[in-house]
Symmetry: C2
Subunit: 634 residues, 2 copies
């Protein structure tokens, strides 16, 4: 098996080196002429000068009469001036040219009609009053905008006002995107095992479009050297920049760097960023060709941190950057010394504090970018950042969105998504940030002041009662409100038809049975442990006890796909995947919230939703819930 | 002459009332299905759930071998485990499906090859290590995004990963734009006096496009009631929102409100905003129809403050708002009690202070929006704001742009635009904010710390020397650097061929001659006054002495269009408009800057430009300049 070692160049250094190479090789876009009405957001390649003045004639700025100011001097209430039409004045509307010999306009409200041809004036007009003089807006040959300027709606208006119908602009950069890989297939609804859906080109195209480029996506190229080389040649001849999206394995990357190297030059291969390390920065015929790793998150990062920077140098106008924001890290974040690492983060404003929580760091987890509010760059040579440290992040959403976000944590249940959707339906300004840290995680987040509300289902072994004892024990001294949630059916999720003939928890230690568990601190894990203890079953005898999943759905899916035989979870999750279900108990899933937030609009919206008929109907559809009293304060 | 009095409803009240009417009449957009790859920035109309899991099979996350973790337990350096291909392992690449019965992957770097079919393992594999489990990114039936959510590039990726190829979204709002007016003509380069160029529809279309709507511009409708009514009926039948862009005179507006009232209902006519007062808020068949006044600045304000708000209610996703920023007002700003007023402002960061300066408030001055960095809302019932007060503004540019802006003030000269264009050519991150307040205004701005650099040309009557005496007198105690600028030819600008046979300043008091002057405090005005005094000419004897223009170009243009016979100014301005020129003197136009800024990159860039060959060449083209020593420190 072959394995190639790459460089590990620091990002800033790699970019500076690459940019200097591009400049030496003369990388730039040409210019073209655009019609002004379709030039929105284009960038001027030279200064634009008005060809005519605006207004191009002296115009009345009011409805009224045009006069010679001289004639009105001395006019007052007691010594009015009387003027005759034609000889002393003309009627003018706003925009009318000033009649020859007139040098002032008196507005209609100040004119007293005597008869059809005679008016009385009781105040003197100042010369040039109420006249829009030639060039008030723009003088002929005045600069409207300089070079390298983005054309805004008002710029388009000013150009047309200045008699300019066409404008010289930089060409839009064409960005070629070549997906490669034998296993890669176009997106479809029923892929086979081993087929990998090719959606990177869709993400990249959308990013390029946002930056004002024209994405050109080429067909998927199989992992064969000659084909990759051919595709590169075609793309380089048709585009200004080329992205070669290769598989992320070290072996495959070699085709990319070999092909780029043969047709042009590889300047950098291997950058000290995570994800994104195997990135290639090359040129072919003076055009940038960038080898981007295959995982979608790596790809997004490399486009954001590298491709965007390269585009900016030729677009000649700064692209939008994300504003910086400071927040408190909610939990410890480990990092590697060798790389600058980019971590997607959730943000939440809870009681004045802005809390940042890391999302999944998997390079394949594109949904982490869907959920992300911010991006955190962990510098190189950092082992990790401690919880409660203040960090600076790039804000991907608006601050307003963050302020309007309900931060929900604790135990996972599909009802959270249902509530979120209903909240957005009622009020599109409302967002929900939910993280599934288990019931005990939820209690701890409330204790640390990091969430508005937490969902919990914690069985007290002594009383058999849910939740109350835990709140009293762990949140002693805090003013906490318990909100009645739902009853839901917990049990064992097993394959359709129960092929192993399982009856209950007592079967879990059966030889050959593959269990899948929930994480420590989750209510479901605590329930299992309680049941095992009651049944005196040794947890070490259960194969897969240590295999942990974070949600009911991810447990159910392991059973549904046959990679596990059994897992504990709620009925609604089993139902979604058509699994059989052995009910064990009905548990109480409640919400807790600090009393201080109960009157906030965000919690009131939430209570309104969980008390609503729509919410109950949706849970009935999911199945296994009883919603009696949901939303009442306990 | 007829004059109709309008309501004067406070904006917030008018909007709330109008929105309630629209809701009652059922105003909303329908939904449609979009292909995911073309759904960027569309808004979901219902929650989107994954149809398949991502990944949809258990996949190797590394290049290496797939094993049964059990088989490797106990493996160490000294007690290695040896595995045979087929029986004990299979070779897998990243993304390959996990072979049946395997539950761990060992990465290639940790595998020691013995022969083609045999490997040695020296560390135990943990079950499920290096495996991307089914649903790691998304579980089937998990919510990808809720309702009313903007589709981002990553959302498109997540949807395709979840087997979703089409998505239900809100339709894009079609916004009809009807320009009206007898005097209105399509933009052209050679309009006749009285013809008004119709560029509002271009500005409005671009704004609508920025907000995600589809603009539909209709042909210009003459000011005839039946034609306006017909155009409205057609637009309402084809669009979701209609903008009727009427002339701004009170008389003409009546057609708009009459036609809207006859076809539907006028809910509000007259809003307490300036500009924008004659706005009409109406409905026809439940669709909003908004009568927008004719001046471009009024139109932009009404679209920004009203049309955008109405669009937002049906787009179901907040549109971008401008961030707020606090700045110090540079000069007194008068306002009216009756209206909320919107003033375009320039911003500049000078020595740590953010300074806001009002731009032209003319409703026809669309170039004020091109130059504006921020918009300041003066509340109703305010008479004015004093200089040096701190105010809050809406920031139209980015903070970075403001930080990179050279704030230049003082005397006007076309060379400022030349320098600005060259600066942007060299470095597209650099901006120049210039305001023409005359030489004395420039000195005062430097004194107050409100500009980085000022251009001045001030003749000391006693010594005949330029600039030095003024700096010593007005900037005593401040550490000021004087930078040599240019020599330029000042004189009288007169019509081509000198039809009045003027010879010099002594002719200015000639009977019937119409002079146009510069504003008080400008170097050119001071020069004229000096010449008048020397020639013992009474300024009151000059017709037009009080007619003030702010730039050489606007003086020249009054002479060029025949609304004045003579004005004093520089040769380059006269040359632009093909005027004759009677030279009077060569004056020294220098720059002054506080010493503390001399090392800032922004001033260094500026000095680099004015010392450059390109700059000199451009000034030679303009004519009347001598650039010897330009940019040297005096």
């Amino acid at each position: 098996m072959n394995y190639s070692y790459l460089e590990n160049k620091e990002l800033g250094e790699a970019l500076a080196y690459y940019k200097s190479k591009l400049q030496m090789e003369g990388f730039s876009l040409g210019t073209e002429t655009a019609d002004v009405p379709s030039a929105l957001d284009r960038i001027t390649s030279s200064a634009v000068y008005a060809r005519i003045s605006s207004p191009h004639y002296n115009a009345s700025a009011m409805d009224g009469i045009a006069v010679n100011a001289h004639d009105t001097f001395g006019a007052t209430d007691t010594t009015p001036v009387v003027l005759k039409k034609g000889k002393g004045y003309e009627v003018v509307d706003t925009g009318d040219p000033l009649p020859d010999g007139r040098d002032a306009v008196i507005m209609v409200e100040d004119v007293i009609d005597i008869d059809e041809d005679t008016v009385r004036i009781i105040a003197a007009a100042a010369p040039w009053q109420h006249i829009r003089q030639v060039g008030e807006d723009l003088c002929q040959d005045e600069m409207v905008v300089p070079s390298n300027t983005r054309i805004e709606p008002s710029t388009m208006g000013a150009m047309l006002a200045g008699g300019i119908s066409q404008v010289e602009v930089w060409k839009l950069p064409r960005v070629g995107i070549i997906p490669t890989g034998d296993e890669i297939v176009a997106p479809k609804a029923d892929p086979l095992p081993g087929e990998i859906l090719e959606f990177n080109s869709t993400i990249f195209s959308a990013m390029v479009r946002r930056w004002g480029g024209i994405p050109v996506t080429y067909p998927i190229v199989p992992d064969r050297y000659e084909l990759i080389k051919g595709a590169l040649e075609k793309a380089v001849s048709e585009c200004d920049i080329v992205i070669l999206n290769a598989g992320s394995s070290a072996g495959r990357d070699d085709y990319s760097s070999m092909a780029i190297g043969e047709l042009g030059e590889v300047h950098v291969h291997g950058i000290a960023i995570k994800p994104g390390k195997p990135t290639i920065l090359g040129t072919i015929y003076g055009k940038p060709v960038i080898g981007v790793p295959g995982y979608p998150v790596s790809g997004i990062i490399v486009l954001e941190k590298i491709v965007k920077e390269i585009l900016e140098t030729v677009i000649k106008s700064p692209l939008r950057t994300y504003p910086k924001i400071r927040a408190v890290l909610s939990r410890r974040l480990m990092s590697t010394l060798k790389y600058e690492e980019y971590v997607r983060m959730k943000l939440g404003r809870v009681g004045g504090k802005l809390i940042a929580t890391p999302l999944s760091r998997g390079a394949g987890v594109v949904s982490s970018f869907v959920k992300a509010d911010a991006l955190f760059t962990v510098p190189m040579n950092t082992e990790g950042i401690e919880a409660s440290e203040e960090i600076e992040l790039e804000l991907l959403k608006t601050e307003k969105e963050i302020e309007n976000t309900l931060v929900m944590t604790g135990s996972h249940d599909p009802l959270i998504d249902v509530a979120y959707d209903l909240m957005r339906k009622r009020n599109p300004e409302r967002y929900v940030s939910s993280s599934h840290v288990g019931s005990m995680g939820g209690i701890m987040a409330i204790k640390r002041g990091e969430a508005h509300v937490a969902g919990i289902h914690l069985l007290d072994e002594e009383t058999g009662e849910y939740n109350r004892a835990y709140i009293e024990k762990y949140l002693k001294g805090q003013d906490i409100v318990r909100i009645k949630g739902v009853k839901r059916s917990q049990g064992l999720m097993i394959a359709k038809g129960n092929p192993l003939g399982l009856k209950g928890v007592e079967d879990l230690s059966r030889d050959g049975l593959r269990y899948v568990n929930r994480q420590k601190g989750s209510g479901t894990r605590i329930l299992l442990d309680y049941l095992l203890k009651n049944g005196t079953i040794d947890r070490d005898s259960i194969y897969g006890y240590d295999r942990e999943e974070l949600t009911h759905m991810s447990v159910a899916i392991q059973v549904a796909t046959g990679s596990a035989d059994c897992g504990m979870g709620i009925f609604s999750a089993a139902k979604i995947y058509g699994l059989d279900f052995i009910p064990i108990c009905d548990e109480e899933y409640d919400f807790i919230a600090p009393a201080e937030y109960m009157d906030s609009p965000i919690i009131r919206d939430f209570l309104g939703i969980i008390k609503s008929g729509e919410f109950r109907d949706k849970l009935m559809e999911l199945g296994g819930y009883s919603t009696e009293g949901c939303g009442t304060i306990l």
